[in-house]
């Protein structure tokens, strides 16, 4: 956990939010907003890729939201999908509003473990948000990674996140970016289908490939099965689990998945440990 020594970290009860001010609001899609926050006074520890925080809006409540970029100086970046309730309030934030932050929490992506490996990132829908910091980490140290492929799935072109950035990664950097939608709209030049369609023709050096998948559970299962069927060791496939998280510190009990708490053992877990769990119905 890295943090500047100059400013003190918060030392408060684990359930108390730390006030942060909204300094930037970007409307990504019709129902997705990226908020940049700055500490009002105290800051929280710097998050790692794949971690989440509990974001709180006064009078509305608190929800877990993944960090969608890593910034310096205590700034926090989250991309939030408006699915009613608290997320509606968060998405309606304007610069100057003050929100509460707890965290960061959870186990993120093993970015360091992926150095020296080929990397296949598969994102579905809002699942691109938690994976974006991994792409940033790759770009910041491109030579440290082998071949890097990013497959992005979405319902429609209009619901693709970070369109501008995707184009930038594709055109100017040494990352293969493939986009695939469930339904094509006129003029769509990417693919149509499910994300595994983009993986079929991909040559995989299975022993030196790391796979990171984030999206709806069904999608993650299909991708993990596809790559492990092709010989990628399940221990080299990471998925990010989504469960009902309320405390984020392993005490409220809601986010259990068999022996794991999604909030602290996850949200990122390797496929060798979750495979059996996700095939048990209603676990």
């Amino acid at each position: 956990m890295s943090a500047d020594r100059a400013e003190p970290l918060v030392r408060r009860g684990s359930m108390t939010p730390v006030p942060h001010r909204v300094v930037d609001v970007v409307h990504e899609t019709r129902e997705t907003v990226t908020l940049t926050l700055e500490p009002v006074a105290d800051r929280v520890p710097a998050p790692a890729a794949g971690q989440f925080t509990m974001l709180w809006a006064w009078g509305a409540g608190e929800v877990p939201i993944s960090v969608s970029a890593l910034e310096r100086g205590g700034r926090l970046v989250h991309t939030i999908r408006d699915v009613a309730g608290v997320t509606k309030t968060l998405c309606a934030s304007r610069p100057g509003d003050v929100l509460g932050v707890r965290g960061p929490y959870g186990r993120g992506w093993d970015v360091d473990g992926a150095r020296g490996h080929d990397l296949v990132l598969v994102a579905g829908g809002i699942g691109l948000a938690p994976l974006r910091p991994v792409v940033h980490a790759v770009l910041a140290d491109r030579a440290a990674f082998g071949r890097v492929v990013l497959v992005v799935g979405a319902r429609t072109e209009q619901e693709l996140l970070f369109r501008g950035e995707l184009d930038g990664w594709w055109h100017h950097r040494d990352i293969v970016v493939r986009t695939i939608v469930d339904r094509a709209s006129p003029g769509w030049t990417g693919s149509v289908g499910v994300v595994t369609g983009e993986l079929v023709g991909l040559d995989l050096d299975v022993e030196r490939t790391r796979v990171m998948v984030c999206g709806p559970e069904v999608m993650m299962r299909v991708v993990a099965q596809h790559v492990t069927d092709r010989g990628v060791p399940a221990s080299q496939v990471e998925v990010s689990l989504e469960r009902n998280m309320q405390c984020a510190v392993k005490t409220c009990g809601h986010c259990q998945v068999g022996p794991f708490f999604a909030c602290t053992d996850g949200p990122v877990l390797t496929w060798d440990v979750v495979d059996a769990l996700l095939t048990v119905r209603e676990l």
Partner: protein, 380 residues
């Protein structure tokens, strides 16, 4: 409470008629007392001022789906099994306000609102419930983020255990390794002896920590003799003999892991009402809902935490719906958590064998039977 100092842990024998001396000793050491007492037609837990507040001469009869208070034919102070109420309510309240936030000049100011409850002695806690405190310690105190409410209530606690000589038919503490004697972690252990003989009715008092010894030091000195020790051992041995229910705690973790798709879960779900009573009376269940209760007119938003149950449909709710919509999946979650995955998560069993979930199940579901069925189905 550590016992590393060299303070003398001298035992004593206290006549039952002078039990108030123990209350006086606790008061002298600054310990307000919580303990078993008659309330709401059951033996519950509440504040005690003197021995007169204990349910003297009362016992209980418990079975699957039933609980009855009964008059005993002696004057025992502790002549019943684990109380209907749980000590948990005092360490981990059913409803806690964690903080309050006021909006001042457009920005919320958060103030922590953890209630200070001061020192408290838990008098008369059984082996099972003592073990339950330590299970909750593992969950709420020993993680990376100690719970602020539990920490506050746990930090100044004196645990005065009483060996259980009167188990109910629902009890299964021996199989869980938690009773009927007073296990590790008590500051003082009491054994009530010969309640049927008013002249010999007495307590063997055994301090186990310096804090316990400081209390016992206020009592008259009376060294126990061999007869006292023998009688005390007989109380525990007799209780253990009368307990017939049990869990195969060795085999259960693997068997439940293997038995996730057992048809027994559908069977029990056909009887289970998903009411959550078992989780409310359980001394270790810790699940809570965390929610905000804003008062917009007053400009105050409170973060409130209330007990929750894994039997509630909303417990596993995730935008589109619940992860565990069927009652069978919810019963499986509860039982598997107690006896199997709790080990993975916290290095201990989640069940202490107090039997409350059996007595307070309106459908009379006996968790020991359900776990046995799944274990036997799993074979090895």
């Amino acid at each position: 409470m550590t016992s590393t100092t060299t303070i003398a842990l001298d035992r004593t024998v206290l006549p039952a008629a002078r039990l108030d001396l123990l209350f006086d000793a606790l008061r002298a050491e600054g310990w307000p007392v919580l303990g078993p007492t008659l309330r709401d037609g059951v033996i519950g837990i509440g504040p005690l001022r003197s021995a007169a507040d204990l349910p003297r001469g009362w016992g209980d009869e418990q079975d699957a789906g039933s609980y009855r208070l009964v008059r005993r034919d002696d004057d025992a102070f502790f002549g019943y099994a684990a109380p209907a109420g749980t000590w948990k309510r005092y360490l981990f309240p059913a409803r806690s306000v964690l903080w309050r936030a006021r909006v001042i000049r457009g920005a919320p100011i958060v103030e922590e609102a953890i209630e200070d409850v001061g020192r408290r002695a838990l008098l008369g806690i059984r082996g099972c419930d003592l073990a339950a405190v330590h299970v909750q310690d593992r969950v709420l105190l020993h993680g990376a983020h100690p719970d602020p409410v539990y920490s506050e209530r746990r930090k100044d606690l004196l645990l005065v255990g009483v060996a259980c000589g009167t188990p109910a038919s629902t009890c299964f503490c021996p199989s869980m390794g938690t009773g009927p004697g007073v296990g590790d972690g008590a500051d003082i252990a009491l054994t009530e002896l010969e309640a049927d003989d008013p002249r010999r009715h007495r307590f063997l008092v055994e301090p186990r920590t310096p804090a316990g010894a400081a209390v016992v030091a206020h009592l008259p000195e009376a060294d126990p003799d061999a007869g006292d020790d023998e009688a005390a051992q007989a109380v525990v041995a007799g209780a253990a003999r009368r307990i017939t229910r049990g869990i195969d705690a060795e085999r259960a973790p693997a068997a439940l892991r293997a038995g996730a798709e057992s048809s027994r879960w559908d069977d029990v779900a056909s009887r289970c009402l998903s009411c959550g009573s078992c989780t409310m009376v359980c001394p270790t269940c810790f699940c809570t809902d965390v929610r905000d209760e804003p008062d917009v007119l007053a400009g105050v938003d409170e973060r409130v935490r209330v007990w929750a149950s894994c039997f509630e449909l909303g417990h596993s709710y995730l935008h589109g719906g619940a992860v565990r919509p069927s009652p069978s999946a919810r019963y499986r979650q509860w039982a598997t958590h107690k006896f199997s995955t709790w080990w993975d998560q916290f290095g201990t069993s989640g069940c202490v064998g107090c039997g409350r979930c059996i007595a307070w199940c309106p459908a009379g579901i006996d968790v020991t039977e359900e776990v046995r069925a799944v274990t036997e189905e799993a074979g090895t």
